[in-house]
Amino acid sequence: MATDSLTESRERVDASRAARKGQTVALFPPAEKEVLLQKYHPDYKAEAYRALRIGPNAGQKTVHEVADLLEGDSPVAQADLKSVPDYTTDLLIIGGGGAGCTAALTARAAGVKVLLATKLRLGDSNTVMAEGGMQVAVKPGDSPVRHFLDTIKGGHFANDRELLKVLVEEGPSATQWLLSLGVLFDRDDDGNLRVRSGGATSTPRLLTCKDYTGLELMRVLKDALINEDVQVVEFAPAVELLSDGAGRCTGAILKNLDNNRFMTVHAKAVIVATGGSGRLHIQGFPTSNHFGATGDALPIAYRLGAELAFIDTFQYHPTGAIYPEPMAGLLVTEAIRAAGAQLVNRLGERFVNETDTRDVVAAAIIRECVEGRGVITPSGRRGVWLDAPLVDLVNGEGTLDTRFPNMRKLFSRYDIDIRAESVLIHPTLHYQNGGVKIGVNGDSTVAGLFVAGEASGGLHGRNRLMGNSLLDIIVFGRRAGQAAAAYAASTTQGPATLDHVAHFRDALRQAGITAPSASPRLIPDYVRREEATTRS
């Protein structure tokens, strides 16, 4: 590996910029794409995977980090279940991000009593961090059919087509709902919604709020929710679901993070919307995810017998920052590549079409690093250059300022001016492509248990298209909220037991799984345990 300095390498990027501007790199032909993915994409690394030994997906493979959760033990003992519940509600929603808030607003409007419990603060989620935008086919030249085809192509044709049809058809009305709550999408001069280009789409389809789209959605949804009659319990993650002993979900056990005590919730229906799992650091990858993204839905739904889908595939976003060190893992939006920023190796050369699907671009970056054409940071991280200054060269001066103010700000905190300097990136663990298997109403394979957002699986197939997760949380958050409210209104509170946990423990023993770790994980463990050096 060459040991030339960052500066020397960056100068080569500057030197080749004029020649690269306007240069076209062909998309990978399908056959070569398959070879590239199998050789370099983390999803294809056999030793990172193992087959599950118990539960509805027994025999199927997933990464060790997720398998550990699914084959983990409940932190709850029978004695922790109270006969007199701490809370009684029609509908319990677990998770206070975009999907959870959307479901809560919808269910409350449908007239049922709603309790929303969340691990950290209301609104703490990956939603708040989404920069790129939300895909909706609103332009006359675009259509839901085109949106469908772009998405399924990006998902390697594995997407659940029924879910996808719902997504593309309901996108426009979901957008109208957001507008009615006060979300400020960017507009054209004539007042219509402005669309931007995203990676791997055949036409510009991204609705944006500058590069603060997720933040804007989350601020509005959270504010709308706290102004409705919905009880919100913060710093109280769910650690177990409750069942009637006959396969129906009837509540949950929450953990009060202030006093570490368990609280019993009786509910006629439950929606799990706890988001993704980047903080599991699958295969040792850094992550772009929120501190709370520890995949809590997976083990609690699995123990109750819910089938999971596509839990062997994760999205490694091609462009996570790797320098300066405090920014490691942080996302650099894909929209900047769509706007003309190129990926360049240590030698100042391009190596991939930047608008190819995320998995292909990520694999190509890893290939450059493995084959010695990557750059090494002072902390030992490897990556390639993202030539941001090209954006202003291609689109005119001021484009980075007006369209990517957040990225400008984040790097400028470390004295890096992206108008003048390329930045270093490497794929970062970004999205859980799969999750709890759902139908078109967010219904899992367990009666009374609904799932929405990143915690669910099927819609995105084996690779999510940029901008489809913000639409996912709104469309399916609304659907799950509606369906769960109707279900709760049509049923009575069943017995709330931990029988399924006892059965699961039996299964663990029978499979010879001794000393399983506790799951869900809840909080990533970053605290240094050795004695810190004090001075006083």
Partner: protein
């Protein structure tokens, strides 16, 4: 896995020993590696964080903090995940700050620009002290946004405050005791819901979908065999 990438890489990984700085963590002195963030310094010194921690990407506003530097009289502010430690820095987290949040439903507002003064009467009390602008970690012109709100130019409020992460540090400093971030949120939502132009193309698309204009074609896609589906997708020009 704790050997991941949220804390600084170990010297074994980097081949070099980091330098150290002395910081005062909520009133107690510690030596911590240079170049790490305030949040990472808290982990390094054994603090389990539940409050005052969020996206770790400078976007969610959970980790507002207050600090002083030696030799300077000012109280400084920042986000814990975005501020690197420096020698002599003394910091404390401001994980939460009491604020009087108005109750309203945007769709029920009849005259939002006037109702601002019923919901947030304190919004008219700005004395132009400029403390909010100095404290804002996003560099927002908070003070102007309040005046634009008071004078009913909600679009201008939206333009100025789109990057607000709701950290609430402005509330801690406002001498008029107002919550500038919540007033901005109110004005933005009202602007979006009540004053923004109709998106006509969106309205037409919703009507098209309701009339079932895409239904047959989508239903056909549900049953296509994979090869045909691939051909259809490949036929889209880029």
């Amino acid at each position: 896995m704790t050997t991941d990438h949220a804390i600084i890489p170990s010297p074994q990984e980097t081949g070099q020993m980091p330098g150290f700085v002395t910081v005062e963590v909520m009133g107690k002195k510690y030596r911590v590696p240079e170049g790490i963030t305030v949040i990472q310094a808290l982990w390094y010194t054994g603090h389990e964080m539940i409050r005052g921690i969020g996206c770790l990407g400078g976007t969610c506003g959970a980790c507002g903090m207050v600090y002083r530097m030696p030799g300077r009289f000012e109280l400084l502010n920042g986000l814990g995940c975005q501020t690197t430690v420096r020698d002599g820095m003394w910091f404390s987290m401001v994980a939460n700050y009491p604020a009087a949040q108005a109750q309203y439903r945007v769709s029920d507002l009849t005259n939002a620009k006037e109702q601002l003064f019923e919901l947030y009467p304190e919004s008219a009390r700005c004395v132009n002290c400029n403390a909010c602008n100095r404290v804002c970690p996003q560099g927002i012109d908070v003070r102007s946004s309040i005046w634009y709100a008071v004078f009913g130019d909600f679009q201008k409020v939206a333009d100025l405050t789109m990057s607000c992460n709701m950290c609430g540090l402005c509330i801690t400093r406002c001498v008029a005791d107002m919550p500038p971030n919540l007033i901005g949120l109110y004005a933005r939502r009202a602007q979006g819901a009540l004053y923004a132009p109709q998106a006509e193309e969106l309205g037409r698309r919703i009507a098209d979908v309701a009339e079932g204009r895409f239904r047959d074609e989508l239903d056909q896609l549900l049953t296509l065999d994979p090869a045909e589906l691939k051909a259809r997708a490949a036929a889209l020009s880029r």
